[in-house]
């Protein structure tokens, strides 16, 4: 239910929670489905474990050493970049709904270019530093 207060629509909090309660219900349905599928699977499938079968498959050859091996995670710089940029771009969404409203216009457009400028300079900096190229 939307109620109009002094010309602007106000969404009543109860409706807000109701729509997400449906999301919660669907999540419950999903969990039930997975549980039922696993339960039915347990009844249908054979269980004949042998030590060879329970060994980690890897590439078909018997595994050497531990599975949780040391690996060089080359992506961590991307992770930093991502966190910075994604947090920035989240702010775009609330802004996007009002930026063209009467009374904003050119001001918000300039703001937008300042914002995009920051992102572009950041990306350019990362590029110049050679972070985006593989070594």
């Amino acid at each position: 239910m939307h109620e109009t207060v002094r010309g602007s629509t106000v969404v009543v909090a109860a409706d807000y929670f109701q729509s997400y309660a449906v999301v919660g219900l669907l999540a419950a349905v999903g969990v039930l489905f997975v549980a039922a599928a696993f339960g039915a699977g347990r009844l249908l499938r054979p269980v004949v474990p042998t030590p060879e079968k329970l060994m980690t498959y890897e590439c078909g050859v018997d595994p050497v050493g531990e599975g949780w091996a040391h690996t060089q995670v080359r992506y961590y710089v991307y992770a930093f970049l991502y966190v910075i940029f994604a947090v920035d771009s989240i702010f775009l969404f609330p802004w996007a709904t009002v930026f063209a409203a009467p009374g904003y216009g050119a001001t918000t457009l300039v703001e937008m270019f300042v914002f995009l400028g920051f992102l572009a300079v950041g990306l350019l900096y990362a590029y110049k530093k050679g972070v985006l190229a593989w070594t």
């Binding site: 449906v22 004949v48 930026f99 990362a126």
Partner: protein, 322 residues
């Protein structure tokens, strides 16, 4: 009481869509790939055109033994398929088929935001699978999956933000309602960026580096068998349905068609989604796999700048016309 029945009906329909549409896409993929690549296998089961292939697959998955490797982190290993599958079920709830409240699972005010947030969770399942398998190749596959999400989530967010700017709302039905035909050329770059980024997040070819069989066996899913593996597959196809549905709703005008949206709006949405799903399959048979560094490069040096340019374009046009 009436409201309870209605909610139950909505949930039931969304759930039915979730169970059938991915299978339809899967069956289509069998047949389309068979035709395009001259494959004989998918054309055999059941006689006419291999119609029973999907049923045969289902029976096979259901009666296979469920092996959890002795070294694996048992609980995480068994939970991972559910984590990767269920987000797509939730997303389906918010995608509108036609105009009005009757043709969408549930109208969410922050629909676009909700959808993007929940879709990101699916990747967590692959990461959990990769880590819990206690398998070096699975771990590498899981990390590649995570890196791919990091790289492609950003252009996807930016392209979606561009549509939100154009429509002035983040509600999915609201976005389709304000759609005009000239949005197609206006948002074209954003649409391509969104679709490509979505493909990459789903790890569909040519972005299937995390499951590259020639390098890391089958990535995070190597150790999985039977039903749990089937759930991962279902997640992939549910992801295709969700991605194509979202692209349709955000960029292709959803229920709008050339002859107006009266009555047959939902058919337009389904038709556009189906065509996009066909494109996804087509791309799989057409392009070779990208290398890991090419994949990162494509996102950071091509898609992100393109998405930023699209936002600038959207902002200028929107302010000029309003």
């Amino acid at each position: 009481m009436n409201g309870t029945v209605e909610v139950a009906l909505r949930l039931l329909i969304v759930f039915a869509v979730f169970l059938t549409f991915p299978l339809i896409v899967g069956q289509t993929e069998h047949k389309v790939m068979a035709h395009m690549q001259g494959r004989l296998g998918p054309m055999y089961a059941g006689g006419f055109h291999g119609w029973a292939q999907l049923i045969a697959d289902g029976v096979k998955f259901a009666q296979k033994e469920d092996v959890v490797p002795a070294d694996a982190d048992r609980r995480v290993f068994r939970l991972a398929p559910a984590v990767s599958l269920l987000p797509y079920l939730l997303v389906l709830l918010a995608i509108p088929l036609g105009p009005g409240e009757g043709a969408v699972g549930q109208v969410l005010d922050a629909g676009l935001f909700f959808v993007l947030a929940v879709m990101g969770v699916g990747v967590l399942g692959s990461l959990m699978a990769g880590w819990a398998s206690a398998n070096k190749f699975s771990l590498l596959g899981g990390l590649r999956t995570a890196a791919q999400l990091l790289a492609y989530e950003l252009p996807m967010l930016l392209a979606a933000a561009s549509v939100a700017m154009a429509a002035g709302t983040v509600s999915l039905p609201g976005i389709v309602e304000s759609f005009q035909w000239w949005w197609l050329p206006w948002q074209l770059v954003g649409a391509v960026v969104f679709f490509v980024a979505g493909l990459a997040e789903l790890q569909r070819p040519p972005f299937d580096m995390p499951v590259a069989d020639s390098e890391i066996v089958f990535g995070a899913y190597t150790e999985y068998t039977g039903l749990r593996f089937a759930l991962f597959l279902l997640a992939e196809y549910a992801g295709i349905v969700v991605l194509c549905g979202l692209t349709t709703v955000l960029f292709l005008g959803g229920w709008h068609g050339p002859w107006g949206a009266d009555g047959l709006g939902w058919l337009w949405t389904l038709l556009k989604t189906a065509v996009l799903a066909f494109v996804v399959i087509w791309l799989r048979v057409t392009y070779p796999r990208l290398r890991e560094d090419q994949l990162q490069k494509l996102s950071w040096t091509v898609l992100v700048p393109l998405a930023l340019a699209q936002i600038a374009l959207t902002g200028i046009v929107k302010v000029v016309i309003s």
